[in-house]
């Protein structure tokens, strides 16, 4: 009988009763055929592979990460809480040592959900990876974590959440933002002034096939992971780079996905996008499960797989080659912070960093304006403050006291909230995330 070389826990939550709309690509049917394929292959009978129920994330699990306006219940349904809970269960299996690795195949996805949430962007409401990561840190201490986002869309939400965090390495491989939603994720986006080089974007041209992806992983991602020495590697496993995906333009295959997973060797994988629900997901997910378990995946093949037909052209190869030459430098020798309000990088004035953002929630049709401020501190991560208003919520405030806050910053955080309450300033809702003392407070409800 087959036995996994690396033990693997699989959390399956297909959310068979939840959809954005009946014909939306992110709908009930999405994981149906994956479930069929995994069951038919008998994958849960393989020694070392086990299936688990998801946990359910609590409001506090979400409030540890996000500023949700007006509150968590308003932006996240039960399905979102279970999806995040599925990721948390995957983490728990690995952290407790019950399984060496885990794969949370849950939906809805989360990597477009940013620090502030007013509604749904790119089918995402809450960032399930971030909720998972912060639950790990809350329970197991402040781990160094690397997230490799292999979804075809730029993981702009995850990037936003970890923009100022030097202990979280975020690498996103995606179809070039000039050709696909959300239109971001360029090499010059390297993280905030206190975390330069901790964000790395690898925009790949349309029609990139296995060759290009694997080259980028080998030449850019792996050396950086080796240097960063994370405690955990997490794969935001979006599967919409597949050559049959209806809403993207890439040429990745199930074999390629499996090989990439073998190279990355993530501790935890969390399903993100992937909308070719019949022709790709069953095979890609099977390939990833086998690769994660250290099993042979060479017989996994899509019905219409013809490597020659989808092979990338020489120009694409040359372009990616050049990217691979220059991108690692952004991590190893990031240029000093330049700043500039016009290019969205923000400016430093005294010991305060300020950045303005306009965010559009395409799924819910919400426009948001926000200004974020980071109080730069030599002793700790610094207090983070965000003022936000949107077409669905009036001006509101979020303040975060970091986990390693110094006494000064801890007091500053409380003072900011207090002043906002006393003097007004017109904030309809105020939220405080105090990671230092583990308090998550809301005012104005």
């Amino acid at each position: 009988m087959l036995k996994a070389e690396t033990s693997l826990g699989i959390i399956f939550f297909p959310a068979f009763d939840w959809a954005i709309s009946p014909t939306h690509p992110e709908r009930e049917e999405r994981l149906l055929y994956t479930q069929d394929q995994l069951r038919e292959e008998g994958i849960f009978d393989i020694e070392g592979i086990g299936e688990y129920k998801p946990d359910v994330a609590s409001v506090e699990d979400v409030e540890r990460v996000h500023f949700c306006f007006p509150d968590v219940d308003a932006v996240a349904t039960r399905s979102h809480m279970i999806s995040a809970g599925g990721a948390m269960k995957a983490a728990e299996l690995v952290m407790s040592g019950e399984r060496r690795r885990a794969f949370a195949m849950t939906r809805p996805p989360g990597h477009h959900a940013m620090k502030v949430v007013h509604g749904s962007r790119g089918f995402c409401n809450i960032n399930i990876e971030a909720v998972m990561i912060e639950s790990i840190r809350e329970k197991y201490g402040h781990k160094r974590i690397a997230i490799v986002d292999t979804d075809c869309h730029h993981g702009d939400g995850t990037q936003d959440i970890y923009w100022h965090d030097p202990d979280t390495l975020f690498i996103s491989l995606h179809q070039d933002g000039r050709t696909l939603y959300p239109g971001t994720g360029f090499p010059q986006d390297m993280g905030g002034p206190t975390a330069l080089g901790r964000t790395l974007n690898i925009p790949l041209p349309p029609n990139t096939s296995d060759e290009g992806f694997l080259m980028a992983v080998e030449r850019v991602v792996l050396p950086i992971l080796k240097d960063f020495k994370p405690d955990l590697v997490i794969n935001s496993a979006g599967q919409d780079n597949h050559f049959t995906d209806p809403i993207t333009n890439m040429n990745f295959s199930a074999q390629g996905y499996a090989a990439m997973n073998e190279m990355l060797a993530p501790d935890i994988a969390v399903l993100e996008g992937g909308y070719s629900i019949q022709g790709a997901l069953p095979y890609v997910n099977l390939g990833i499960c086998l690769a994660m378990a250290g099993l042979d995946y060479s017989h996994v093949r899509e019905p219409n797989y013809e490597p020659e037909r989808i092979r990338q052209d020489q120009r694409t190869t040359d372009y990616i080659n050049k990217l691979c030459d220059v991108l690692p430098e952004l991590y190893f020798n990031p240029p000093p912070f330049q700043g500039g309000d016009r290019d969205g990088q923000g400016v430093i004035s005294g010991d305060v960093f300020t950045r303005r953002k306009n965010i559009y929630y395409d799924t819910d049709g919400i426009s948001e304006n926000q200004q974020e401020t980071l109080h730069l501190c030599d002793q700790c991560r610094g207090v983070y403050k965000v003022e936000t208003s949107s077409s669905s919520n009036p001006l509101s405030l979020g303040v975060e006291i970091p986990w390693n806050a110094c006494p000064h910053c801890r007091e500053l955080g409380h003072r900011l909230v207090e002043e906002a309450q006393l003097k007004g300033g017109g904030y309809r809702y105020i939220q405080l995330i105090n990671r230092k003392d583990r308090e998550y407070l809301r005012y104005g409800f």
Partner: protein
């Protein structure tokens, strides 16, 4: 009058049960030794003993639980099988090779039942030629996703038989098609199940022939004969001839159904069948026994054979008492019978005898043995006995808790997936088996749950066998984009219109189940057929709905036809 026979490891038990409006009454029972090399002798002898006590003209039904198939597999007395599979992409099927004559034929069917690649006729012919050269006469044909579309299995079956219908043929004696074993998805299990079904087919049918001849001789030729299955149900003998693998591991099912017949179980409960060597633990949710979600393992092969979820632990009345460090331990080994029955090693039963909890055999011998053992380990005799009994009860408690935790933490679904997601919280214990009465108080002390030892628990297995009902299940799969409805276990295929929906599918599933059982001579009330799973998914092409993907599972849940009448 209903007869029940349970062929067990040491004894073959038989009962005759009379059922009237007050319930069932045991009117005759007997125990004879089991002869493993001649099971027919054991059955015949038990049957004769019962028929001496009752009017044979009143017998309407005989239910039989036999270890025949299990033994054949365990002892390797099985026939060579030709296994032909159509796998397509995925895990390399050679990982699931059960025997020498295993052939993978190119071709593939996808998860929706679309044929992606036709079956290679050339490879099929070569494979069959190779099997025939090896003298193979029985074949298992299995396709990946054959429960969505059996096209490749049908082609392989026709090739193996060298003819177009299911009639007997010269080229093969018997063919098992994977899809007829059930509608569940699991290709490796389907391969193993089809293989074992073929491997025991001839032996089982020879046994069935002998059994029918013997019944005719006894003037019982018209009696309905059913064979027990591991899922706590029966199947008609005629059915068992083509599905002999379903008769495997039916022993624990007879015990569990015995408890069902002897008591009224409504709550989440734990059944403890405490025997000489082992204790079998079974769990009930809302009064219904839990089953293994996917099926049991035969040897190291997982199969799709449904079975009640039963955990066996090495602890029973004959378990030896030992001292490990400071702890008094019991089991897991049996090193001969209790001292009170002439054994040499101190056992749990001896300790219970010492306490006065029971009186098995020579209680004075038990008393001496406990005292000797205690003295050798410099501890008071009563402390030794108490700690041994306490250890046994605690062990049973811990293992039961672990089983319940496992059930609650893993997606092991209950007999109906209706209960999926429900937590099992036992509220009551039922004890049966030899030491049940004696261990009642210590076990209660551990669990602190209502603990019942039903009367008549000595004949529970055979009573369970006698009263067990026929179970059946089927899965219906419809794809309105492809306009097809398919019930794998019946090989039933029908065209459906675009407007076919979940309600129609539910109705069709129940009707087909009732009709199928009717054709087997089993009368079923439509309300006994329960829908245990029903789902319908919109399939989208572009941004338009292209059809519905409908799945319905329908079953007659295990149960008994009557429970024992309350003693007046």
């Amino acid at each position: 009058m209903l007869l029940g026979i349970d062929v067990g490891g040491t004894h073959t038990d038989a009962v005759a049960v009379k059922v009237d409006q007050d319930g069932a009454r045991v009117i005759a029972s007997c125990k004879v030794p089991t002869r493993h090399h001649d099971l027919m002798w054991s059955i015949d002898t038990a049957l004769d003993a019962i028929l001496e006590q009752v009017d044979r003209n009143q017998v309407s039904q005989l239910n039989l639980s036999t270890t025949l198939s299990t033994n054949a597999i365990v002892e390797g007395k099985i026939e060579d099988v030709g296994v032909l599979v159509s796998a397509g992409p995925g895990i390399d099927p050679h990982n699931f090779m059960p025997c020498r004559d295993f052939h993978v034929i190119d071709g593939s069917v996808d998860h929706r039942g679309n044929e992606i690649r036709a079956l290679s006729r050339e490879q099929l012919d070569q494979a069959l030629a190779s099997c025939r050269k090896n003298g193979v006469r029985v074949f298992a044909v299995v396709g990946k996703f054959s429960t969505r579309n059996p096209r490749h299995e049908n082609a392989m079956r026709r090739a193996a038989c060298a003819c177009d219908d299911d009639a007997r043929c010269e080229a093969a004696d018997f063919v098992t098609s994977g899809h007829q074993l059930g509608g569940a998805l699991n290709f490796p299990r389907r391969i193993a199940t089809a293989y074992f079904n073929c491997a025991v087919w001839r032996l089982f049918n020879e046994f069935a022939d002998a059994g029918e001849a013997s019944l005719r001789e006894k003037g019982l030729g018209d009696v309905t004969v059913n064979i027990l299955k591991a899922d706590g149900g029966t199947m008609p003998l005629s059915q068992s001839r083509t599905l002999p693998v379903q008769s495997i591991f039916s022993g624990p099912a007879a015990s569990v159904m015995g408890i069902v017949a002897l008591t009224d179980i409504f709550h989440d409960s734990v059944i403890l069948d405490i025997g000489g060597t082992t204790t079998d633990i079974a769990v009930f949710a809302d009064g219904a026994p839990l089953i293994e979600r996917d099926g049991i393992h035969i040897g190291s092969h997982p199969t799709s054979v449904n079975a009640l979820k039963v955990r066996s632990i090495g602890l029973g009345g004959d378990s030896a008492v030992s001292i490990i460090g400071d702890e008094v331990a019991v089991g897991p080994n049996r090193l001969g019978p209790p001292v009170s029955l002439g054994g040499e090693r101190l056992t749990l039963t001896d300790c219970l005898n010492f306490q006065g909890a029971c009186e098995v055999g020579d209680t004075a011998a038990s008393k001496q043995a406990v005292e000797r053992f205690a003295e050798a380990h410099t501890m008071p005799a009563d402390a030794l006995a108490d700690r041994a009994v306490e250890y046994a009860a605690r062990k049973i408690h811990d293992e039961t808790r672990a089983l319940v935790d496992e059930i609650n933490s893993k997606p092991v679904y209950t007999i109906h997936e209706l209960l999926e997601g429900k937590r099992v919280v036992p509220r009551k214990l039922y004890l049966m088996g030899g030491p049940a009465q004696a261990l009642r108080d210590p076990v209660f002390h551990q669990f602190k749950l209502s603990t019942e030892v039903p009367p008549n628990y000595g004949v529970a297995n055979a009573v369970g066998a006698a009263l067990t009902r026929t179970t059946w299940e089927l899965e219906l799969f419809a794809d309105t984009q492809r306009h097809v409805l398919f019930i794998p276990s019946l090989s039933y295929r029908e065209n459906v219109p675009s407007g076919y929906d979940l309600d129609a599918a539910r109705e069709d599933a129940v009707n087909q189940l009732v009709m199928q059982l009717d054709s087997l001579g089993v009368r079923l009330n439509a309300e006994d057929a329960k829908i245990t799973h029903a789902s319908s998914f919109n399939m989208i092409d572009g941004y338009e709905r292209a059809g519905r993907n409908i799945r319905v599972k329908c079953q007659v849940r295990p149960g008994v036809s009557a429970t024992l009448a309350k003693e007046a």
